[in-house]
Amino acid sequence: MLSVTGITGGYGDLRVLREVDVSVRAGRITAVLGRNGAGKTSLLSAVAGLLPSVGAGRVELDGRDLTGLPPHRRIRAGLALVQENKRVFHARTVEENLLLGGYALGGRGLRSPARRAALEQAYERFPMLRERRRAPAGSLSGGQQQMLAIAQALMPGPKVLMLDEPSAGLAPVIVKEVLAMVAKLRDEGLSILLVEQRVEQALEIADDVAVMEGGRIAASGPKNGFDDGAVIREIYLGRSDERLTTGKS
């Protein structure tokens, strides 16, 4: 559904992505794992067209070439991105946030039939948002903001949803809820690119896995190759265990 090949890029002189290949199969979840600073967020930014400088590489969505398009054209083509840190518009109300999420939908009016229908769907999926629809998004709790961000991204009915650390800063119960929601969306047929630091939980719902390190893909493939827990140690406890054995001097 989504295929990214040979993406290279960064911020000005700073290269953070080096020839990254990653893909998402239709109706599946690809989890991108890796330590902080490995380039995971930059990868999503690059796919969404938000990374300031992208050198080489190709982004294809459902057979359509998105390379070089500005972000809004990519969203229109069926890509959706939930950014890190629940970037909802704090000063706007929940409903306004949702309507803005549906910006890419047709119709001139704020409440065009298409947007109205999407709004209704969002409220059905997240009843909590309906209750708080007139509240400024900034007054929601962290978990509610994350749900709002996801609901916003779903408004235009995307083909591929990209999520950047949706569990960050959330209580375990909420994390479970969020990831269950992600799995449910997949089961409904959505293709998902998930960047997640909670490796165990990400692996639980993922179909495919890509491990990033130093701006490159260090390993990738179907999940069952990553099931034994070694990958977690590699990612979070360092690639070479030698560092542990040197100990304190």
Binding site: P70, F89, L99
Partner: protein
């Protein structure tokens, strides 16, 4: 009361400048120093339309709106667009002053340095209203400015584009990730601000004359209006402009003809000193 009317009429012009600043600021995050020059260009185009070409009112308004919108578009392309994405934040500080100066200079070259009288489109007989006299054209200026300010305020909260503009003012990248074309929005804001300035050229010119350095004092008083009303708030700018106009008129009436600017300056310094936060550029806590 006559002083109040005079203050409101002058204040309406300052409100218009503040509104123009805000339209662009909200959508593109740029403070367009040259906006007052756009209003100046509007008065000259009104003169050209009404006097030189002898056009009726409606075509003159259209000429002003289209002409100034084009000027604003050019300004955005030349002075703002090349700076987008640069890390050095104070580039626009220099380039918008540059654009303003070029507009001043071009106006002086094209229309000369002497003030030109823009004819009043309404009868000149002053009306007596609420115990004061006011020219119909000034009354129209006040009313239409109010209408524009309130209209823009409502529009920004109840239309898709308006909300998109508020959202991109809050977080440009997040707005782009929602499918909002932030660049086009920014350009559109310049064009809209230009068109508004152009339409009002006829009414403003009837009160101020068309003169090449009109922009200077308008820029300042428009900025004072923003400082009073808070940046990015259309209603605030509207109120700030009228307040500035009233202070000006009363100082001129009761203190002396040399003093109104000095008094407004004093008020300006006082506001910056006492209430700097929440006035211009709200301080955000998340900055590391």
């Amino acid at each position: 009361m006559t002083t109040v009317w005079a203050g409101l009429a002058t204040g309406a012009i300052y409100s218009l400048v503040a509104i123009g600043y805000n339209v662009v600021l909200l959508a593109s995050g740029t403070f367009n120093f040259a906006h007052a020059q756009l209003l100046m260009a509007g008065t000259f185009l009104a003169y050209t339309g009404a006097v030189t070409l002898g056009l009726p009112v409606l075509p003159t308004l259209l000429l002003g709106a289209a002409g100034v919108a084009v000027v604003a578009l050019l300004e955005e392309r030349i002075a703002i667009r090349p700076l987008l994405g640069r890390s050095d934040a104070h580039g626009a500080l220099i380039t918008t002053v540059g654009a303003a100066t070029i507009l001043d200079g071009l106006a002086a070259v094209i229309w000369g340095r002497e003030p030109l009288t823009v004819p009043s489109v309404l009868p000149d007989e002053p009306l007596t209203l609420l115990g004061g006299t006011v020219r119909p054209v000034d009354l129209a200026l006040i009313a239409l400015t109010l209408l524009t300010g309130v209209g823009l305020h409502l529009w920004s909260r109840h239309s898709l584009l308006g909300l998109a503009s508020l959202a991109s003012a809050e977080d440009r990248e997040a707005a782009a990730a929602r499918g909002i074309n932030v660049r086009l929005l920014g350009t559109g804001a310049f064009v809209l601000a230009g068109a508004i300035a152009g339409v009002f050229g006829l009414l403003v010119g009837a009160r101020t004359y068309a003169v090449f350095d009109l922009g200077h004092s308008l820029a300042l008083f428009g900025f004072v209006a923003i400082a009073i009303g808070g940046s990015g708030s259309q209603l605030g700018g509207l109120i700030g402009g009228f307040a500035t106009g009233l202070v000006y008129a009363f100082a001129a009436r009761y203190i002396g003809a040399e003093f109104p600017q000095i008094v407004v300056f004093g008020v300006f310094l006082l506001i910056l000193f006492l209430r700097p936060r929440g006035l211009f550029g709200a301080a955000l806590e998340r900055r590391v």
